[in-house]
């Protein structure tokens, strides 16, 4: 996958998942798999009125681009796109979109999952939730780190999704 075959955007404004998927489809695509991350209204016992997404300008685009490029090396022939918002967002709003187009579905599913798992632990964004109980920074989850470790372990194998 060359640099032309993945697109990464970091922005405050909303995006349209249908338009993003349409832009990703190419002549060779038999499969398009997409993921959309959305702001939850409830986070544990904390009702969320709004979240603020802070980011590290420059590093965010770079890291997302590197993740997409790594996916392209691991699943040759795919096309990938990532859009990630930052700033103030309300419950129900879209945060992130990841799409992968491929000739066949195995690579599309696996690469999409891989990109999402990687960005959750590597892309420099930080979420701050505010609601009726005040405001707090969201804590990183162990399960996200474990997902990354499973991808690393399976890389020693054939590159598909670990069981």
């Amino acid at each position: 996958m060359t640099a032309l075959e993945w697109q990464v955007r970091v922005q405050t404004g909303d995006f349209d998942p249908e338009a993003e998927a349409a832009a990703l489809r190419g002549a060779a695509a038999g499969a398009v798999v997409t993921f959309t991350g959305v702001v939850r209204e409830w986070s544990g016992d904390f009702d969320v009125a709004e979240i603020e997404l802070e980011h590290y300008p420059g590093m965010t685009e770079r890291v997302l681009g590197e993740i997409a490029a790594q996916a392209g090396e691991r699943w040759p022939g795919i096309r990938a796109g990532v859009v990630h918002r930052y700033g103030a967002l309300k419950p129900g709003e879209r945060i992130v979109w990841v799409g992968v187009a491929s000739a066949h579905r195995d690579a599309a599913f696996d690469a999409c999952r891989y990109i999402v798992d990687c960005l959750k632990t590597q892309a420099p964004f930080w979420k701050r939730e505010s609601g009726s109980r005040g405001a707090r920074w969201v804590a990183a989850r162990d399960s996200d780190e474990q997902a990354l470790e499973r991808w690393a372990a399976s890389a020693a194998g054939e590159g598909g999704r670990p069981a």
Binding site: T60, V96, K120, Q122, W126
Partner: protein
Amino acid sequence: MLYFARLREAMGRGAETVDAPAEVQSPGALRDWLIARGEPWAGAFADAQPVRCALDQAIARDDAPLHEGAEVAFFPPVTGG
């Protein structure tokens, strides 16, 4: 120096320029040197654990080699996506 999220709040600033002595040669050493200077660094690093670092906009290990004009960022584990 750049600080983000909870660490930025604890520092009371998001960015600053520091001139570290020549013997400070890694992000880990830089963090220790800042803590030794006292507040706000000591309290901020103690309060916002754990802390990760990036060097020139790439995730870096504590013992990565620093250079003149390096951009070093400290931040909590990321929570994007």
